[in-house]
Symmetry: C2
Subunit: 382 residues, 2 copies
């Protein structure tokens, strides 16, 4: 299959590009390198040293013989996108190319507007590009489980059968996103739904949980292929952040009571889920929604798990409950369905002590890279 | 009360500004005059000759002694908006200032992106402006009944109590908008919901139906105060468009079977609804949704009503069912609730033959203004 991975230089996109290339697909990457620019803006860094994208794909070709083409540009530039689509004629367009940090979108008005404009316009352009140039191309769009928020009823995969006043319908699941970033994904979901309906586009919207881990089989093949790993308050996410904190003697920073429950998955499952979606395309005019996560944990649970493993390894981490910088429930019902990807063949890598230990061992090697001032939360929702 | 009417030069905004001024409120208008520029772009016009905004407010002051301040600028320019908010310190911000045509948003990619960027960013700026400068100001936002689409269950006012798998919650009503314009309003609704929650903003989102009519008591006071009236395929809406067609010997153009049912209201009720919302502000942190319409009609019903009145007046209109340029159901269940504004005092002007006759008589005076080539639909959803 001929697959474009937009955002293929990022934390999820890069291992996905390698994995798909390894499976024999012809892969090209679109990336504006904006994630690296944001590191400069925030004076932050990846814990792991990362090579340039050109170095990465060169090394990949040396190791495997598989060529990955790079298109350095931005999806908000439609003429650029059109040229790539004309040249590549992709069967699938995997769309990771969005600003993906909730705290980044909450820094101030400019970052909120940037996030929504960038994400929504980029996705609109992809929809128009598919319609105009490759109408049969399958859009595989990364949404987020956070689009749903934390309703007091179970979360279904995208749609909900509702009975009301004696009548029935299956409607889009109501969304209660909790940052300007999460809102941008909800906007995208609505736009994609409409485009599928009027133009017959085939699309899969992957409502992904919080991704943890670092390595896949492919990124482990060579240091130049190493994936980025974020630990700062803006781009670092729970679990990865806790593990890094535990190795440098920093308290594990639980926001508020830590009862916030979310869906999680290993980066190794992210790449497999994309393959599953690509190999099982949506029908023409269909927008499928898959909830892409494997397990649910509360933030407090995660911190306790990491603390235990870190102690086994000789560290002495403490858990601190910080004042929550976000406006969110800290004690709530949470249950989301996630059967569809498993039905299509996903075999989850579950989170056990061994997984935490493996990430921890990698992290320890790079812990001198940590900029400690970047760990505590500085962006407030208020 | 000190009230800003953003979009106060438009079809709904102008009569609202006059009505609120008449009631004794201190009114200022923000408008970028973009609606007039779009007339140039589309080679279209208002059926009624309209004076410049400056001439309009000058005449209003001559007639009533009431001053209306004009701020000529665009909500997407945040520095401009901030200065206006600082200067005016409004108690209420009435927000009509969005691109409001579904067909305009469907012309091509650029118009889709313009509509969503303009509407979503403008509203984000208003939210940030209120938060930063006038946190107690009540946002009265014009949404649209079209945000809901046409679900097979009754439409409630913004929220829906859902029971699912033995649990209950009250969730945002699922939205199925049917154009890039309608989608922009859904994006706004989600953004406003979030801003109310995290910042304690007070907001009322008026999900307005299709507005018909032209005159209010105030706009009738002088020809310089006349409201604009659109009849073209892009900005003209059902009823007004049918009335104009009937006076110039054009067939009444029903799209498809005409079974599409929607909520409608008279422009005289629009202005009163805004007053009701302003006089009964939402609580801090509350986003209220009112469905702002008075009656439901199918498009075929409306055409038949207009035909009958026009025949009484000596015209000979025919009804033609055109191929529908939109992708929408033409035969569907439709029922929306609209009790909240009535509970707060709205006394609807219902649509009867006399109302149609009155609009028709005004239209006849200006029928030589009609550019016939602008009547048939040219924008396709496909």
């Amino acid at each position: 299959m001929n697959i474009i991975v937009a955002g293929g230089d990022g934390f999820c996109g890069w291992p996905t590009a390698l994995y798909l290339s390894k499976q024999g697909h012809k892969v090209s990457i679109i990336d504006s390198m904006v994630r690296r620019k944001i590191d400069n803006e925030l004076h932050s860094n990846s814990l792991t040293p990362i090579a340039s994208l050109q170095e990465r794909v060169n090394r990949w070709e040396e190791l495997t013989g598989n060529k990955i083409t790079i298109y350095d540009g931005d999806l908000v530039h439609y003429d650029f996108l059109k040229e790539v689509l004309k040249q590549e004629q992709p069967d699938a367009f995997v769309h990771f190319a969005e600003q993906r940090s909730a705290p980044y979108s909450m820094i101030d008005r400019e970052h909120a507007v940037y996030t929504q404009h960038n994400n929504v316009t980029g996705t609109l352009n992809v929809l128009f590009g598919i319609k105009e140039i490759v109408p049969d191309c399958h859009l595989i769009k990364l949404g987020t489980l956070g689009e749903y928020g934390t309703p007091n009823i179970p979360i279904e995969e995208g749609y909900l059968e509702i009975e009301h006043k004696g009548r029935k319908d299956v409607l889009p699941y109501p969304k209660q996103p909790n940052s300007f970033y999460h809102l941008s994904k909800v906007h995208d979901s609505h736009n994609i739904t409409f485009a599928c309906k009027i133009w017959g586009i085939r699309a899969t919207d992957l409502h992904q949980g919080i991704v943890y881990g670092l390595d896949t089989e492919e990124t482990k093949m060579d240091p130049i292929l190493t994936n980025r790993l974020d630990y700062d308050d803006v781009f670092g996410t729970a679990l990865n952040r806790f593990i890094i904190q535990s190795t440098i003697g920093h308290d594990l920073t639980v926001y508020g009571k830590g009862g916030q429950t979310r869906g999680f998955l290993n980066i190794k499952d992210t790449v497999r889920c994309i393959e599953i979606a690509a190999e099982n395309p949506a029908d023409k005019g269909e927008l499928r929604v898959f909830n892409q996560f494997t397990e649910e944990f509360s933030v407090a649970d995660l911190a306790a798990k990491v603390k235990r493993v870190a102690e086994d390894e000789g560290f002495e981490p403490q858990i601190t409950n910080l004042e929550n910088p976000r406006v969110e429930l800290e004690d709530h019902f949470y249950h989301a369905e996630n059967t569809k990807l498993k039905e299509l063949g996903l075999e989850p890598h579950l989170l056990d002590d061994e997984v935490i230990r493996e990430i921890l061992e990698t992290v320890v090697k790079h812990k001198d890279q940590v900029i400690e001032t970047n760990i505590l939360p500085k962006v407030s929702w208020k």
